[in-house]
Symmetry: none
DNA sequence: GTCTAAGCGAGACGGTACGTCAGGTCTTGCT
DNA sequence: AGCAAGACCTGACGTACCGTCTCGCTTAGAC
C-alpha cells in the first residue's frame, strides 16, 4: 500500500540502476568526468543509452547519484563525543573527509566543475552535497560555543566557510589533503592567541 | 635588445589578437564558457577559425589570456598604507576583488571549472592567477604580524587559505560577494576574542 | 526468405536514401564531382551530414550508388534479335549507350576519374559498371561469330576492348558521341575488307 | 634577340624548376596524385610554396610539366622503317609505350583523371599529350594504307581510336599492359580474315 | 653606387571540406 | 510502459589544403 498505484507497463529493471552507477563511478575514476561519455557508461553497464536518459536528466545528475550512493552514508556519530575537545572533533572530521577525498577527490572536483557550468545542477549539488557537510561543521562549532571553547560572538558561518573554503581551495588547486593539513585547519580555527595583544 | 629577431614570414595581424580576446570575453560573459564555441569566437572577431588554432592551443588558454588582459593589471598599491589597520587593508582588498568578480565572476568560475578538467591548464591558472593573489594576502598578513596586529605563531598560509577559500567557496556555490562579506572575513581573521577564555 | 532477420533498432529512413541519391545526381550534374561536397548533398537532401556517413564510406561510393540507381536497369533485351545483323545490333547498342551518356557522361567521367584515385573504388566500379557492359558486347560478338558474321579466330575480347576503348577514349577527351560515331565503330569492327589484299 | 627583353628584377632561380619537377614526379609516383599536396612538393623540393604558384597555375599543370620533362623526348625514329611490316611497327610502338607506362602509368592515370575535373586542363592535356601520340599512329596507318597493308577505305581515325582506346581502357581499368597485349592489338588491327566470309 | 623591379623563404590569413564524436530524440520489435 | 538497438538531427571538434597576402632579404640590370 505504501507506494500508491503502481503505474502500468513494464517495471524498471531493478538491477539496472546499480549497474549504471557502478559503471559511472568506475569510468569517472579511471578517465575523469569530461572524458566519459554517456554512451560509454551505458555500454560499460550493458544497458541501452536511452535507459540512462529515462532516469537521469544529465550526466552530472547521474554522477552525483553515483557518488552519493557511496558517499551519503559516511559521517559519523562520534562528533559530539563530550570527552573530546571540539578542536579534536573537527580534526577527526576533516581526516575522515580527506580520506574520502583521497579516492573521490577527482570525481568531486569534476562535480564542482560541472556545477559551474549548469545552474540547475549547482542547486542540486548544493542541497545534496554542500549543505549537509556544512551543517556538520556549524553544529560542531555551535556546541563548541556552548562549551565555551570558542568566543560567543564568533561568526559561526564564517568559520565554517573558512573550514570548507580552505580544503576546497586546496582541492581545486591540486594541493594534497593530508592529516597535517587537517590538524592545521583545526588548530587555526580554535587558536586563542590570534591577536598579539593577548601576549603583551 | 627589446624583442630579439623578428621571425620570418608574414607577421601576425596585430589587431587580430585584440579583436579575438574582446570577442572571447564578450561571448563568455554573455553565454558562459561551455556554451561558447571556437567558431563563434572566430566569427564574432571577424577572423578565420584557423587563426585561433594558430595562436592558442585550447579554448581555456584563450579565455585565460583574454581574462588576464583585463585583469592582470589590477591590484592596488595602497595595501601597505601604514595609517590603516591591516584589517582595514584586507577588507579594502577584498572589496576590490569582489567588485572585479561582480563582472568577471562567471568567467572566473568557468576558468576554475576548466582547470579541473585539464591538469596543464590548472598549473597555468595557478601560476598566473592564483599565486599572485595569494601573495598579496600573505604579504599583508606578514606585515600585520610585524605590526603585532596578529599573533606571532599564527599560520599565515592557513589564514590566507581561509581568506581565499572563503570567497572561492562562496563564489562556486553561488553566494553573493558583497561588502558585508568582505568585512566579515576581515573581522573574523583578525578577531582577538576567538577563545571564550578571553572573556572569563 | 527475402531479407533475413531485420536487425534491431530504428530502421533506416526509407525515403532518405532516395532523397540523398537524387540530390547527389542533381548536384554532380550541375557542378561536377569534385565541386560537390558531402555537406552540400546532405543539405540538398534535407538530411543530416552524419546520415551520409552512416550509409556510405566515401563520396565515390555514394555517387556510384546514385548513378546505378538510374543506370543499372537499362540494357535492352533486343540485342539478340536474329532478324538483325550483328553490326546493326552493335550499332543500336552503342546508340543506346550514347544516349545515356548524353545526360550522364559528365558523371561517368567523374566516376572514371574517381576510380583512378582510389583502388578500392576502381574494383567496385569495374565489377558493377564496366564488366556488365563488357559482357553485353562480348556476348554479341560471340553470337556474331556463331552466325559467321565474324572470323572464327578473331579475338573477341580485343574487339570488345576496341569498342569500349573507342568510346571511353572519345568520352574522356571531350569528343561528341553521336549516332555517326556509333555507326562508324560498328562498321569498322565488322569490316571485311580491312586488308587491301581483299581488293586485289 | 630570341627571348625578347628580359624583365627587370631578380631572375628566376634556374635550379628551382628542376628540383620542383623532380620532387613532383617522386611524390606522385610514391603516393599518387591526389595524396600529394602542393605544400609537400614545395617542401620536398626545398622551395617556398609561393614559388610553385609563381610558375604553375594548378597542380595538374605542374604534374603535366613534370611528366613531360621525362616523357616528351621518347618516340622513336624507326617507325617508318620500310623493311618492317606496319603490323610490326605498330607492335613495336606499343611495346615502347607500355614500357613507359610501366613506370608512369599511375601518373598518367592521375592526369587523365585530372583532365576530367578541369576542362582547361583537358585541352592542354589533349594538345600536349594525346594528339602527338595519336598522330604517330595515324601516320603509321596512313603509310600502311599507302603500302597496301590495309584497306583503302578503312577509317584511319577509327582504327587509331581502337588502338589508343584499347590501352586507355586497359590502363584505366587496372589491366596489365604487356608485350602480349601489344601484339594482340597489332594483330587484330591488321587482321585480314575478320569476316568469316573471307574463309568460305 | 644607388634605385628599382622582381624572385624567394617564411608563414599568417580567410576559406572550405573533411571525418569524428557526443548529445539528445525518435522509432522499431520484444518483454 | 520499459528495454535493447540503433538511426536521426544538431553542432562542435581539430586537421588539412587551398590560394592569397605580407613581410624581410636577395639578386640583378638600369640609371
Amino acid at each position: 500500500m505504501s507506494e500508491g498505484k503502481r503505474s502500468a507497463g513494464r517495471p524498471r529493471d531493478a538491477e539496472a540502476a546499480g549497474a549504471i552507477k557502478a559503471a559511472t563511478l568506475k569510468l569517472v575514476r579511471e578517465r575523469g568526468y569530461e572524458a566519459v561519455s554517456i554512451a560509454a557508461i551505458a555500454s560499460e553497464a550493458g544497458v541501452a543509452r536511452q535507459t540512462l536518459y529515462n532516469r537521469w536528466n544529465t550526466k552530472a545528475d547521474l554522477v552525483l547519484d553515483a557518488v552519493f550512493e557511496e558517499t551519503g552514508r559516511y559521517a559519523s556519530a562520534p562528533l559530539n563525543d563530550p570527552a573530546q575537545t571540539s578542536r579534536m572533533l573537527l580534526e577527526r572530521f576533516l581526516v575522515q573527509v580527506f580520506e574520502h577525498l583521497a579516492e573521490n577527490g577527482d570525481t568531486i572536483r569534476a562535480l564542482i566543475a560541472a556545477a559551474q557550468e549548469n545552474n540547475g545542477f549547482r542547486e542540486i549539488f548544493r542541497k545534496r552535497f554542500v549543505n549537509p557537510r556544512e551543517e556538520i561543521v556549524t553544529d560542531l562549532l555551535k556546541r563548541a560555543q556552548e562549551r565555551r571553547e570558542i568566543g560567543q560572538d564568533c561568526n559561526i558561518n564564517m568559520l565554517s566557510s573558512f573550514v570548507h573554503g580552505a580544503f576546497w581551495y586546496a582541492l581545486l588547486n591540486g594541493d594534497t589533503l593530508d592529516k597535517d593539513f587537517a590538524r592545521n585547519i583545526a588548530v587555526e580555527i580554535f587558536r586563542s592567541d590570534r591577536k598579539s595583544s593577548g601576549q603583551g
